[in-house]
Amino acid sequence: MSNVLNFTSVDKSFGGLRVIDNVSFNVKKDSRTALIGPNGAGKTTIFNLLSGIYEVDKGSIILDKNDITNIPARKRINMGMSRSFQNIRLMPHLSTLENVMLGQHHLANSTKENFFPLGLIKRNKWAARAEQALINAGLETYPGQVVSELPYGIQKRIEVVRALVSNPKLLLLDEPAAGLNSTETKELQTLLENVSTTGTTLFVVEHDMNFVRNLCQHVVVLNFGKKIFEGTPDEVAKDPQVLEAYLGGNDDNAP
């Protein structure tokens, strides 16, 4: 199977502190891959490097045969990569539907679509598409609500939907299950399983090891900015180095 992502020999430092240290891994096409590690291991930093919020100091990032190492953040969504955030980054005063529609902003880009008064035309294809995405995620009750007024768990899922509607080849999710109750987590898992059958590869940062075990076939483990292990969830759970990393970090979420 080919890779949708090659992350090769990447370094990143912040003011002398090396946060990512010569990390390499691949993500297989159509796989469901997890990135785990104790708090502060550098997981979110890797996502920020992937989505272009930070530039890498060294190394390369290849997305589906395109070198995206140094292209501007704005263009990466067009290359087929979108993400959700650990700390919710919805537009707080836009409605649910508008936030989701923002996720497909880059798809509708003709001049006509820029000025077309969307809300006035009932059967608009973009609005319909966004609504359908919300229905698939079981969020159809909230389209017109301003997102800052919604509960955390709902906002969390809206962010996943916003990332989904761009039809990405690679979907990056930073702790999508954090703050969800067990029912919501199950629903999220079903949603993500469905998504991964439609040509989207999942790359997920998650502390909830049950969730990782149920969803993912492959796990990359990070500690102090270094990759310490890579394998199936079962292999990860047995690896002494991984256990050591989690015990040393006093983490309750050990695999």
């Binding site: 272009g52 067009n78 537009m91 836009l94 529609m101 969307l118």
Partner: protein
Amino acid sequence: MVAVAFTLTIGMLNFLNFTIPALFMVAAMITWAATAAGLHWLVGASIGMFVSIIASLIIERFTYRYMKAKYGDATEHALPLVSSLGFLIIFEHVVIMIWGTDPMSFDSPFAHAQFKIGGIIFGIPQLISLGLSILLVFGLSLLLKRTRLGRALRSIAEKPDTATLMGVDVGRIVPVVFMMTGFLCALAGILFTINYKNVSPYIGDHVATNAIAGMVIGGLGNIWGAIAGGLIIGMVEVLSIHFWGADIIKVPVWGLMLLILVFRPAGLFGHTQIGKGKF
């Protein structure tokens, strides 16, 4: 309308753009100059509008964007504000160099278009101005609320970095705000010329104080509030000229603004960012 332009850049970019009155004045002067040179007044107005929009884009390039590129975030610095003040002064002096400081009179094509209701004289141009303003704000809020461009604009107002990750081209959309600013200022300048029938390089200053007062009264960042605030200011001016004479005209206007700031710090219609779905 100038108040709306102010409010637009404040709400969108968190930036008090002091070149706004200069754009207003330039458009008015050009309309006058072109008409005085024998062109049809509509042609003059078009040139004025064109120049104003171009000038606004140049201003964007050298104030907002320059500072943003240099310091990361233009909104957290007084620099764009100060540099836009610089532009105001430059524009004023260029105009003075070309046309001098004397007020010029403009032969309005609508000089005698007016009618009376119960002793109060309404000029047709004034009514047209009011109508146009309301129409424009209506169009503007439709654009902001209902279109993809508007959604992109509101996203930039809320979280420019996240908007960038969604593929929104901030570098191309911010100039659109400045173009709208240029357009609004020019239109206001042209309407001013037609209404008051005389222009001078200093009209910008007068209008700026009123527009800022109007904006504060209406509520920062609230475009409907800006229109209402502008109307209230206009009324206070007319009434105070009537009762106390023209010499102390600034006193009631600023007095009212202070009163409102004391009792309703957010303005009559609420302080709001453009994104907040209030209009």
